[in-house]
Amino acid sequence: MSDDDFLRVTDVSKWYGEEQVLHDVSFEMDRGDVTVLIGPSGSGKSTMLRCVNRLAEAQEGSILLDGEEVLSPDLDVDELRREVGMVFQGFNLFAHLTAVGNVALGPRRVLGLSETEARERAEDQLERVGLADQLDSYPAELSGGQQQRVGIARALAMEPKLMLFDEPTSALDPELIGEVLEVMHGLVDEGMTMLVVTHEMSFARAVADEIVFLDDGRVVERGPPEQLFERPEEERTGRFLERIASHD
């Protein structure tokens, strides 16, 4: 709990109407860390991610990113989102734009690069995720795995300092999961700071610095993967992991 934590989430609570979906959630990450959020469906994982880039508004608590209070009412939300990339379960690619168009839109319209600069950057990012041969394909012409890689390239093109992944492989056919995980592995190797919601336990085990287990909007247990997977302290954690394992 040093003062120079890169991301520090403290006692975050969030209600949708009367329903409290996050209860005093706390965890922290250093620069370059990979934290994996796990938990049953409806436990608040997506909501937690969305609070970090303010797609959802937490009512209580604090989220410090690089020393700045994300939840401050004075914060420029669009500025925050420029620095925090997000990858969605359903890809959410802009359906009317080609792969290059999807990736170039942010650099062009948000960062203000010229048309050519934005296109060049988009091409570089698509090459980075192995899609140099699909630059001008529309989302509907790409496989799910390719679409998700475009989604990752789109986020990377903003040169974010933190990447949020919300179940990036859950919507994919099993044979397409590998290519997306491979790209994510590459990002880990490059030192990207990543907060990842996933049920890919082997991925979590391989790259996570810390696993946070959420249930019912509460952090039940957190720790390094070896500890959480081999010797969970809470019974609920063990039961959840067993259930996940039996699905694989």
Binding site: F88, R109, V110
Partner: protein, 308 residues
Amino acid sequence: MASATRPATVRERVAESDRSVGRLLLVAAGALFWGWLAVSWVNRWLGGVLVPVGQPLVPPAAVEATLAGIPVLAAYAADAGFVVEMTPDLARGTWLTVVITGVSLALGFVIAVPLAVTRVYGRFSAWVSLAYTELLRGTPLLAQLFVLYYGLNLASYVPDAVSGVFAREVVWVAILGFTLNGAAYQAEYIRGALESVEEGQITAGRAIGLSKLETIYHVVLPQGLRYAIPSWTNEFVYLIKYSSLAGFITVPELYYRADQIAAETFRYTLIFLVTGVMYLALVLTASKLMVRVEERVAIPGLGAEREE
């Protein structure tokens, strides 16, 4: 799949050639109609280089004489001659109908897009847009034209800068009326299309740092407006026909001209039959044009399974 390479049966080949004959006839009729309109207009504009202004492009007597020599058509020769004699008036009326419809539709679109956007994404402004569309859609168009023309006497307020564009200032009043009314209908069609753009598209736009307005402009509108084309075409077609209401505030468009000719000659059936064909030609052109536009801007996978 295998049947894709199977040779066409005789029945299929006949059907296909019937279809191409039909298409050919339609294209020929369209070319004749628009050619006649264009040449009439150029002739007028250049002060009668081909035939004196106000005269038919081909002499009615010649048409009548030619048809009289063809056995099956001889019975209609006199009627044809009469119609040809009326073509200069009909051409002028048709042009005005085209211009009024086109200008009103374009101006209405400019108003309709913000109306639809505020309806879907606004808070207070959503209520203003709702009030506007309900008022304009809930009262008769003819009553709206009467209020603008007789009630507010707007024809006398047309700015000098544009008053000379048309022979009569009242044309601007009609354009204003159709613009305001058409905007309300167009906005309804566009609103429906915007609502069918997936929520995740907006989330993704916001997530890369686009503002709400930027997301609407760069993400929602390009998709929503494409979805809107088929239903929006209805409004285009309706406006062509509703533009005949301008005749009731003395705008000399196609319907007004036809009514005048009929009143003078008592050839009601013939004149309105011919006028009907003109409207049909305009309507068919509009819908063919919009099908072309839709194909032209189509994007793979976009709106494929949401045809309304």
